[in-house]
């Protein structure tokens, strides 16, 4: 009777402890990368190429809006690497001392473009946006969406912002801009070149002049609380290596300015 009770207690303890033990073992060859959703396709290609290497860790992605990922990391989400679509979110984490020193770097750049529904001939230059036929221009919400911030900055520098602002539909992210223009519900919209290349339902009408907006940078860093900092650093090295760069460029990303 005594034995049986002890055995039952032992089994119960094992049952309760099992998931924790499994998790502890799993962390060695595993890294979690929180990244801006605009990098989805490129990162999946990176994962395939990097994962094929001997001894490469198992990479899990958590993709989302950079601002939301930033808040999750601040709340202690178990993330090893963060790749943000804009410096602001990374600066916020750096300000709270959540990054591992010396690991922050820009891994990619991007270009801002004006897109129109494919086949549309109304808009061929930025000045064409003033035409009365152009009723709705989709743009990322200026305070919250980085692509919207860059677009507003560029239009202000070209003295077009005030003339066009009455036509703006403010989208919650850059992919929503793409959806509105692809469906022809907006006559034009501002997205990154990488987004424009992801569908044939839109065409690039104008590449915004590089001098009119702050260079688009995607900063990456290892998170201080990472349990696999070594593997995380190696992954960042790979992103900046010629092989990693080549994959990112294939998806339309540019080499970072710095």
């Amino acid at each position: 009777m005594q034995n049986r009770r002890a055995m039952l207690a032992g089994m119960l303890a094992a049952l309760i402890a099992a998931p924790f033990l499994a998790r502890a073992q799993g962390t060695s060859g595993q890294i979690t990368v929180a990244a801006a959703i605009s990098m989805k396709d490129a990162l999946e290609a990176i994962q395939a190429a990097y994962g094929a290497r001997a001894g490469a860790p198992n990479i899990t992605f958590s993709l989302g809006a950079s601002g939301i990922l930033q808040k999750q990391i601040e709340e202690g989400a178990p993330v090893d690497v963060f790749i943000s679509a804009a410096p602001a979110q990374m600066n916020a984490l750096e300000g709270k001392n959540l990054l591992l020193e010396g690991t922050r770097r820009d891994v990619a750049g991007n270009r801002l473009v004006l897109i129109v529904p494919s086949g549309s001939t109304t808009v061929k230059s930025l000045d064409d946006l003033k035409k009365p036929e152009v009723q709705h221009i989709a743009i990322g919400e200026i305070r919250a969406v980085p692509a919207g911030q860059y677009a507003a900055e560029s239009l202000r520098n070209q003295n077009l912002f005030d003339a066009l602002r009455g036509k703006f539909v403010y989208a919650q992210n850059v992919r929503a801009v793409l959806t509105y223009v692809a469906g022809r519900d907006a006559d034009a919209g501002f997205v990154y070149e990488t987004d424009a290349k992801s569908t044939d339902k839109v065409a690039i009408a104008v590449a915004m002049p590089a001098s009119s907006y702050t260079p688009v940078a995607y900063p990456a860093a290892v998170i201080r609380s990472s349990q696999s900092a070594g593997a995380a650093k190696a992954f960042l090295e790979y992103l900046s290596s010629p092989e990693g760069r080549a994959i990112l460029e294939k998806y339309g990303f540019t080499t970072p300015a710095k």
Binding site: H136, E141, Q172, T179, Y180, G183, D185
Partner: protein, 227 residues
């Protein structure tokens, strides 16, 4: 401070409540006491906006009414600009709230004693008159509850409105949209301010609606008793 989100929220919720009250009650009146698999299936369709996440409802509406679809292109050729308009905000709120009004109205109408309508019919009353003078007054408390639910939900709609009507300050940016974008921009103060305004409007409007419907309930009961 731009107060347009308050005005737009009130306008859109009131318009959507009016449309949905009318449509929901009419459809429920048509559906009531009809039996069959087809009607059960139709109920499933009517309930979809409640089951699907609001953003999905908004996306499906955009697919249906946007220019990429034949219906949307037809509307566009008529010279109407639906997507990104005030009307789109009302449509979005109306579609997401329809199931609430429909289900409540159906239950309310089904509870009315069928023999009363039968008696009226033998006395020569037409179906329209029976609906207006017997079914509606007797079902009123239930219909009123449906209206309260509809208004409350319309005031809070975010996902469907955002996708179909877009986020245009002064034209389609209702309170929930203003709150969402204030939070996204990290402007907690503005978000809190709009949230408090929303809570105040909800309490005031629901209180007023409750008072009014109770008043109407009293009237409706008196009408029935006099008859």
């Amino acid at each position: 401070m731009d107060l347009s989100p308050i005005r737009l929220s009130l306008e859109v919720s009131v318009a959507a409540t009016a449309v949905v009250t009318l449509l929901g009650t009419l459809v429920a009146g048509w559906r009531v006491r009809r039996r069959g698999v087809i009607f059960e299936l139709l109920d499933g369709v009517f309930l979809l906006p409640l089951v699907l996440p609001p953003t999905v409802v908004g996306f499906l509406l955009l697919l249906m009414l946007g220019r990429a679809s034949p219906i949307g292109e037809f509307i566009y050729q008529l010279g109407l600009r639906l997507v990104f308009s005030w009307n789109a905000a009302v449509i979005a709120a109306a579609v997401t709230t329809f199931p609430l009004m429909y289900m409540t109205a159906r239950a309310a109408l089904e509870q009315v004693d069928a023999s009363l309508a039968e008696a009226a019919r033998t006395l020569g009353a037409g179906e329209g008159r029976i609906f207006r003078e017997i079914l509606l007054p007797l079902a009123w408390p239930g219909l009123a509850a449906g209206m309260v639910l509809t208004f409350a939900r319309a005031l809070g709609d975010f996902g469907a409105t955002l996708i179909l009507a877009g986020n245009i300050p002064g034209r389609t940016q209702t309170l929930p949209l203003a709150i969402f974008f204030a939070v996204e921009a990290g402007d907690t103060q503005e978000a809190v301010r709009w949230s408090l305004v929303t809570v105040a409007i909800s309490l005031a409007a629901l209180g007023a609606l409750n008072l009014w419907t109770r008043h109407r309930t009293g009237l409706a009961m008196r009408v029935v008793q006099q008859d």
